[in-house]
C-alpha cells in the first residue's frame, strides 16, 4: 500500500464523519449521528483500518452482496416513506445518502471507489446545506473543504502512480510531500479568498425568502436583536448574542440622585411601535413623524405645560449606547416619551402618536436622556371597534372570552372590561403556547398568525405579540406591537440596567381606556425573566452563552448577509461604504479628538493613502525581488553546484571540486578552476569541466563514467 493511498484512506474517514456531522446538524438528529459514526467507523475499521493499522491482518471481505442489496432496498423504502410522510425531499434524500455511505463503508472497496465515496460525502454535506445553514453545517463545510481539497489532490497523485505502476512511493512521497503541502495550502487560501469574494458580490434579494418549497427547509439566519419590523413569514435559525448594546439608568429626578430599578423589576424599553400590519409583517407607520434637529426634541409639547403631565410622574432615563452609536436608531425609553435630550446636536424623528423617536447622532458616542411619563395624555381619541380579522381567530378569541365570562362583542362589552379581556387573551396564549427559537416559515397560502395559533403553537416573542394583537383586534380592542428591550440585568453598584442584544423583545400595548395604552406581554418567559437572568451567569449559562455567541456571529456575518448588507458594504445608496467607513473610523481613533464622521475629504484622503501604500508596497516588492534575484543567482549556483542536478554529473562535479581544493563561489566553473585550482591539476580539471558541460548539455552523450576514469588517470587524488 502506497503512502498516498494510506493518506487517502484517512482523509476518507474524516470526510465521511464530517458529512455525517453536517447531516445530523441539519436534521437535529444527534442520536442518529452517534449511530452513523458507530456503524460507519466500524465498517471503515474492519475493511480499511485494521489491515492498515496492523498490516499482518487481512481486511474483511465486506458484506455479502445479497446483504448489501437488502440494506439498499431497506434504505430506499425508508426514504420513500420519509418523503411521503411530510419530510422534505432533501431530508429524505440525505437520510438515504447517509445510509448508502454507511453501506459502502461496510463493503470491500476497490481503490477506484474512493472517489465515489468522497463524492457521496460531499453530496451529503451539500444536501445538509440545502436543509439548514446553521453553524454546525457551516463548521462541517469549513472543515470538510480542506479535507476534500487535499483528498482530491492525493487522489490525482495516486491515480498517476497507479497509471505509472509505481509500487513503492516512499521516496516519491518524501520528495513531494512538502511542496504538495505548500501548494495545497496556498491553493486553499486562494480558494477561500475567491469564495469570499463570490459570496459577497453575488446579488441577493432584499430579504431571505423561502424558495425551496417542499424540496428542503430553508433556514435563514436570525439573531435575537432589536428590529423595527416583525416578519412573521421568515423562518430561520435564531441565535442570541450577549453583546451589550445599551446601559440604562432610571431616576425620579433630573440629577439621577433618586434611582429607580432593581434586579426584580424588569423594564420594558420601548424602541419602536409597530402599528401597521401588511402581508404578515408588522412595521412602523412613518406618516406622523416630525423631523427635528437640535439638542432636545419634544414629542408632546413643552414639558412645562401641566396638561402634559405632572413633574412627580416623570421618569428620567439616561441611555448610554454601547454599539452602533453612529447609526440612526430608536430612542429607547420606558412608558411614553415626552422629551429626548442629547448632549450633542442630533437629528430626531419623533412620533407623537406613539410617543417614540429615532435619533441620528453626529458623534461616535451616543448618550441621551429621556423624560417619560407613565400615564396618558389628556386628549385621546376613540379607537375601539372591530378590525378586519380572520374568522378562525375571532372564533378562538370569542371562545376564550366567553369561557371567562367576558362579553366578546365590543359593542356590548363595557370599556372597563377591555383590560380584563386582554388579560384573558394573554393568559390563553401563555398557557397554550410555548416559547421556542425554532422558526419555521408558515405555508404561503395561510395567515401566519392563524397558522401559528392553531398549528405551530411555539415560537419567539414576536409571534406571541403578533397573536395577541390580532386576537385583541378580533374582539374590538385596539392594540399594537412594541419592539424594544426587556431590561432585567441590573447592576446594583451603579444602578444601571445592562441591556444585551439578546434582551430584545416584542410585546403589546393595548388601548384599554380612553387614551390609555397599557403594556401586556404574552410571552411565557417574561414571567420568569429574573430566573433566566440568574441562569445566565451559571457555568452552564456561560457555556451556552459562548455557543450562542458563535451562533450569533455566524448568523450575523454569514447567514443573514443579504442585499442590505451588500448595499452597506458597497454604498449602493450613495452613502460611504461601510468598509471605508470602518477604516476611516479606525484612523480617526488614532487621532486626538472626536472629528465628524466621514467627509468626502477624509474619504479621498483614505483612498489616496491606500493607493500610495499599495504603490509603496509594490515598489518595495519589485526592488526586493530584483535584489533577491541578483543575490540568489550565484548562491544558487554555489549551493546547487553550478546548476548540475543529475546524480552522475554531480559526482563528477564533486570530484573536480575535491581536487581543486578551494571554496566554491558564484563564478563560472571554468573560471573558478582557472583561478583556484593548483597548477598541476588545472588542465585536467578544465578538461573534466568540459566533459561535465558536454554531458550536461548534450543529454548524456558523454559518458560520465569515462570522464571520471579520465579524471582519475590524469589527476589522481592527492
Amino acid at each position: 500500500m502506497t503512502r498516498v493511498l494510506r493518506k487517502i484512506r484517512w482523509c476518507l474517514l474524516i470526510s465521511v464523519m464530517l458529512a455525517f456531522f453536517a447531516f445530523a446538524s441539519a436534521e437535529g438528529t444527534w442520536p442518529g449521528f452517534a449511530l452513523l459514526v458507530l456503524f460507519g467507523g466500524l465498517g471503515w475499521y474492519i475493511t480499511e483500518g485494521r489491515p492498515m493499522l496492523a498490516p499482518q491482518r487481512k481486511g474483511w471481505e465486506g458484506l455479502p452482496r445479497w446483504v448489501a442489496h437488502v440494506v439498499l432496498a431497506g434504505a430506499l423504502i425508508a426514504a420513500f416513506y420519509r418523503g411521503s410522510s411530510g419530510e422534505t425531499v432533501v431530508s429524505a434524500f440525505i437520510a438515504f445518502l447517509a445510509s448508502i455511505v454507511v453501506l459502502k463503508l461496510w463493503q470491500k472497496r476497490d481503490p477506484s471507489d474512493y472517489g465515489q465515496l468522497f463524492t457521496m460525502s460531499l453530496f451529503l454535506t451539500i444536501g445538509a446545506t440545502l436543509n439548514s445553514n446553521n453553524v454546525g453545517v457551516g463548521f462541517a463545510v469549513l472543515v470538510q473543504t480542506p479535507v476534500l481539497f487535499a483528498s482530491a489532490m492525493l487522489l490525482q497523485i495516486w491515480n498517476a502512480q497507479r497509471r505509472g505502476e509505481l509500487q513503492n512511493d516512499a521516496s516519491d512521497w518524501k520528495r513531494l510531500r512538502k511542496p504538495l503541502a505548500a501548494v495545497a495550502t496556498i491553493s486553499l487560501l486562494v480558494a477561500v479568498i475567491i469564495s469570499a469574494v463570490v459570496f459577497v458580490i453575488v446579488p441577493r434579494q432584499p430579504a431571505q425568502v423561502p424558495g425551496m418549497g417542499s424540496l428542503g427547509r430553508l433556514a435563514g439566519g436570525r439573531q435575537i436583536g432589536f428590529s423595527n419590523q416583525v416578519d412573521l413569514r421568515a423562518g430561520g435559525i435564531t441565535s442570541e448574542s450577549r453583546e451589550v448594546v445599551l446601559l440604562a439608568q432610571f431616576a425620579a429626578d433630573s440629577d439621577f440622585e433618586k434611582p429607580i430599578g432593581s434586579a426584580d423589576i424588569p423594564q420594558y424599553l420601548r424602541g419602536a411601535v409597530l402599528d401597521l400590519y401588511e402581508d404578515g409583517t408588522w412595521r412602523e407607520s412613518r406618516s406622523r413623524n416630525r423631523d427635528l434637529i437640535g439638542p432636545t426634541a419634544f414629542v408632546l409639547g413643552n414639558l412645562d405645560d401641566s396638561s402634559v403631565t405632572s413633574s412627580t410622574e416623570r421618569v428620567y432615563q439616561r441611555i448610554i449606547v454601547q454599539s452602533g452609536a453612529s447609526r440612526e436608531q430608536p430612542v429607547f425609553h420606558i412608558y411614553r416619551g415626552l422629551s429626548f435630550t442629547s448632549p450633542s446636536p442630533a437629528r430626531y424623528l419623533t412620533d407623537s402618536a406613539t410617543t417614540t423617536a429615532r435619533i441620528k447622532s453626529e458623534s461616535s458616542n451616543l448618550t441621551y436622556t429621556v423624560i417619560s411619563a407613565p400615564r396618558r395624555a389628556a386628549r385621546a381619541k376613540e379607537t375601539r371597534g372591530t378590525r378586519e380579522s380572520a374568522p378562525e381567530l375571532a372564533a378562538i378569541s370569542h371562545a376564550v372570552l366567553r369561557e371567562r365570562n367576558i362579553e366578546p362583542d365590543w359593542m356590548l362589552r363595557a370599556q372597563e372590561d377591555d383590560a380584563a379581556a386582554v388579560v384573558a387573551l394573554t393568559n390563553y396564549l401563555k398557557t397554550n403556547h410555548a416559547y421556542s427559537f425554532d422558526r419555521v416559515p408558515p405555508p404561503a397560502a395561510r395567515d401566519p398568525v392563524v397558522w401559528w395559533i392553531q398549528e405551530k403553537q411555539a415560537g419567539t416573542c414576536e409571534y406571541f405579540a403578533a397573536a395577541l394583537v390580532a386576537m385583541c383586534h378580533s374582539v374590538g380592542i385596539d392594540a399594537r406591537v412594541v419592539a424594544g428591550y426587556l431590561a432585567a440585568e441590573f447592576d446594583a453598584s451603579t444602578n444601571t440596567y445592562i441591556v444585551r442584544r439578546s434582551d430584545a423583545h416584542a410585546w403589546v400595548e393595548a388601548n384599554v381606556g380612553p387614551g390609555v395604552w397599557r403594556t401586556y406581554d404574552a410571552t411565557p418567559i417574561a414571567d420568569n425573566i429574573q430566573e433566566r437572568m440568574r441562569e445566565r451567569f451559571t457555568l452552564t449559562g456561560r457555556f451556552l452563552g459562548f455557543l450562542d455567541g458563535i451562533q450569533a456571529s455566524w448568523n450575523t456575518r454569514v447567514v443573514a448577509f443579504d442585499m442590505t448588507s451588500q448595499q452597506r458594504l458597497f454604498s449602493v445608496r450613495g452613502e460611504t461604504p461601510e468598509l471605508v467607513d470602518r477604516v476611516v473610523r479606525l484612523l480617526r481613533r488614532a487621532e486626538a479628538g472626536d472629528a465628524p464622521v466621514v467627509s468626502t475629504l477624509a474619504f479621498t484622503r483614505v483612498i489616496t493613502s491606500l493607493m500610495g501604500l499599495m504603490l509603496l508596497a509594490g515598489g518595495i516588492a519589485i526592488i526586493a525581488w530584483g535584489v533577491l534575484k541578483l543575490w540568489r543567482k550565484p548562491d544558487k549556483q554555489t549551493r546547487a553546484g553550478w546548476g548540475i542536478t543529475h546524480p552522475q554529473q554531480r559526482k563528477l562535479l564533486d570530484e573536480i571540486v575535491t581536487r581543486a581544493a578551494a571554496s566554491r563561489d558564484g563564478t563560472p566553473l571554468r573560471e573558478w578552476i582557472t583561478r583556484t585550482a593548483p597548477a598541476n591539476q588545472r588542465d585536467a580539471l578544465l578538461a573534466s569541466a568540459d566533459d561535465l558541460y558536454a554531458a550536461r548539455f548534450s543529454r548524456g552523450e558523454t559518458d560520465i563514467a569515462q570522464a571520471l576514469a579520465k579524471l582519475e588517470r590524469t589527476s589522481p587524488r592527492a
Binding site: Q156, V183, S187
Partner: protein
C-alpha cells in the same frame, strides 16, 4: 563538446522535443463538478441560502484554482527521451529514460504521467504515427513532482512482445492535478526507432554451441588477421616488421614475412520458410535467430535465405553477422508465393526451418527442422511450445 563558460542566465536554453499540441480533456468528473456548481447557484439564488452561496463560491474557486494550476504547471515542461536498450529480443524489457525539465519560474508540476502515443495530431493537423504498439506494451512513466526550474530523470520499462521495427514518434505528458476536473496534456514530437529481434529460444543440445562445435574440413584461406600460419613470402613495402620471420630471413638472406590464414568454419545456410504466417512465422524467425546465434558462437559461417526471397545474407562468421541476421529476421514478413529452389553453395549445409511445410528443392544437403517439434527445444522451453494444431503444448 565544450561550451563557453558564461553565467547560466546567458547560456543558450537547450530545449527538449518540440511541443506539437496542448490540450484540455474534460473528464466526467469535471462535467459532474460543473453541473453541481450550476445546481448550487440555482439553489442558492432560489433559496437565498447563504451557505449555498458560500459553497457556490468554493466551487467557483475550485474551478479557478484547478484551471490555473493545471494550465500553468505544464506550461514550461520540456521532455527528452532516450532509448536505453536499442538492441533487444522480443520478450525482453525495453528501458526508456525521460528527462523532464520544468522551465517555469513559479509553478511546480505534480502527478504527471508520460505516455508514448501511437498517433497524435499537431495543432496544424499533421499526423505523428508510430508502430511501437505492434511490438511493445505502451510505456508509461510517472513523475510525482518537479519543482520550478528543476530537471528530473525517470526511467520506465515495457515488455516487448513481437519482433519488428519499432518506432516512437509522439509522447504525451499529462496531469489531472490538482482536483481532477480536467486532464491537461502536452504532446511532444521526438522520433526514435529500434529493432525488436525475434525472441530467443533455448534449443535442444544438438543445436547449442557445444553440439554444433567441430573442426571444419575446409581449406585454409589466407587472411592477415588469421591466427594460423599459412606460408612464407617475400617482404613487400608496407608489411609490418612484426610479421617478419627473422630466422627464415637469416637463413634465406632476404627478408621473408609470415603469411597468416584462417580456417573457415562450416558454411551453413539457414533457409526460412516465409510462406508460413502468424505464430508459425514468429516461431520460425525466433528459432532461426536462436540457431544462428548458436551456430555463429560455434564458429560457423551462417547465411540466410527465405523460400520466397531467396538468399538474403551470404554466410559469414562473427558477431556482426549475428546482428545482420537478427535484423533481417526481425523484418521478414509472410510471403505470398512459393519461390524457386534456394541456391546454395556446393558443400554447404542448408537448414530448412519450417512449420510443417515441405522443403523446397535444393542443390545441397538440406536438413529440415520443424519448429513445432519438441525435440528441437531445451526441456525448459517446452511449456510455451505450440503443438501442430497451433495450441500451446
Amino acid at each position: 563538446m565544450t561550451l563557453p563558460d558564461v553565467p547560466s542566465f546567458f547560456r543558450p536554453k537547450v530545449d527538449g522535443a518540440p511541443v506539437i499540441a496542448r490540450r484540455y480533456h474534460f473528464s466526467l468528473a469535471g462535467l459532474a463538478y460543473a453541473l453541481t456548481t450550476a445546481v448550487l447557484v440555482i439553489g442558492a439564488i432560489n433559496g437565498q441560502n447563504n451557505l449555498l452561496f458560500w459553497l457556490f463560491g468554493l466551487a467557483v474557486a475550485g474551478l479557478v484554482v484547478s484551471g490555473i494550476l493545471s494550465g500553468w504547471s505544464l506550461m514550461g515542461i520540456r521532455i527528452h527521451r532516450d532509448i536505453l536498450t536499442p538492441q533487444l529480443h522480443a520478450g525482453d524489457t525495453l528501458r526508456i529514460r525521460y528527462r523532464i525539465t520544468n522551465r517555469n519560474y513559479i509553478f511546480p508540476a505534480f502527478a504527471m504521467t508520460i505516455e508514448e502515443m501511437p498517433q497524435a495530431r499537431s495543432w496544424l493537423g499533421k499526423l505523428f504515427a508510430a508502430t511501437f504498439t505492434d511490438h511493445v506494451r505502451t510505456p508509461v512513466a510517472y513523475i510525482g513532482y518537479i519543482g520550478p526550474r528543476q530537471t528530473v530523470t525517470v526511467e520506465t520499462t515495457a515488455p516487448t512482445h513481437t519482433r519488428g521495427l519499432c518506432t516512437f514518434n509522439a509522447l504525451r505528458i499529462a496531469s489531472t492535478f490538482p482536483i481532477g476536473l480536467t486532464r491537461k496534456s502536452v504532446t511532444f514530437a521526438q522520433q526514435a526507432a529500434f529493432t525488436v529481434w525475434p525472441a530467443k529460444f533455448m534449443l535442444a543440445k544438438s543445436f547449442t554451441r557445444e553440439g554444433l562445435e567441430g573442426r571444419s574440413t575446409q581449406r585454409l584461406r589466407p587472411s592477415p588477421s588469421g591466427d594460423e600460419f599459412f606460408a612464407l613470402r617475400e617482404f613487400q613495402p608496407g608489411d609490418s616488421t612484426r610479421s617478419v620471420a627473422w630466422r627464415a630471413t637469416a637463413r634465406a638472406d632476404r627478408p621473408l614475412v609470415r603469411s597468416m590464414a584462417v580456417r573457415p568454419g562450416r558454411r551453413i545456410w539457414l533457409t526460412i520458410d516465409d510462406r508460413a504466417s502468424g505464430d508459425d512465422l514468429e516461431r520460425i524467425a525466433a528459432f532461426a535467430g536462436s540457431l544462428a546465434a548458436n551456430l555463429l558462437q560455434s564458429g560457423s559461417e551462417v547465411g540466410l535465405a527465405t523460400v520466397a526471397q531467396g538468399a538474403l545474407l551470404t554466410p559469414t562468421a562473427g558477431d556482426r553477422n549475428r546482428v545482420r541476421i537478427l535484423n533481417a529476421l526481425a523484418t521478414i514478413t509472410a510471403a505470398q508465393r512459393d519461390n524457386a529452389a534456394v541456391r546454395t553453395h556446393t558443400g554447404d549445409t542448408s537448414m530448412f526451418i519450417h512449420a510443417g511445410a515441405s522443403a523446397p528443392a535444393s542443390s545441397g544437403r538440406t536438413l529440415p527442422i520443424d519448429v513445432r517439434s519438441p525435440q528441437h527445444y531445451h526441456p525448459a522451453q517446452l511449456p510455451d511450445l505450440p503443438n501442430a494444431d497451433g495450441d500451446t503444448a
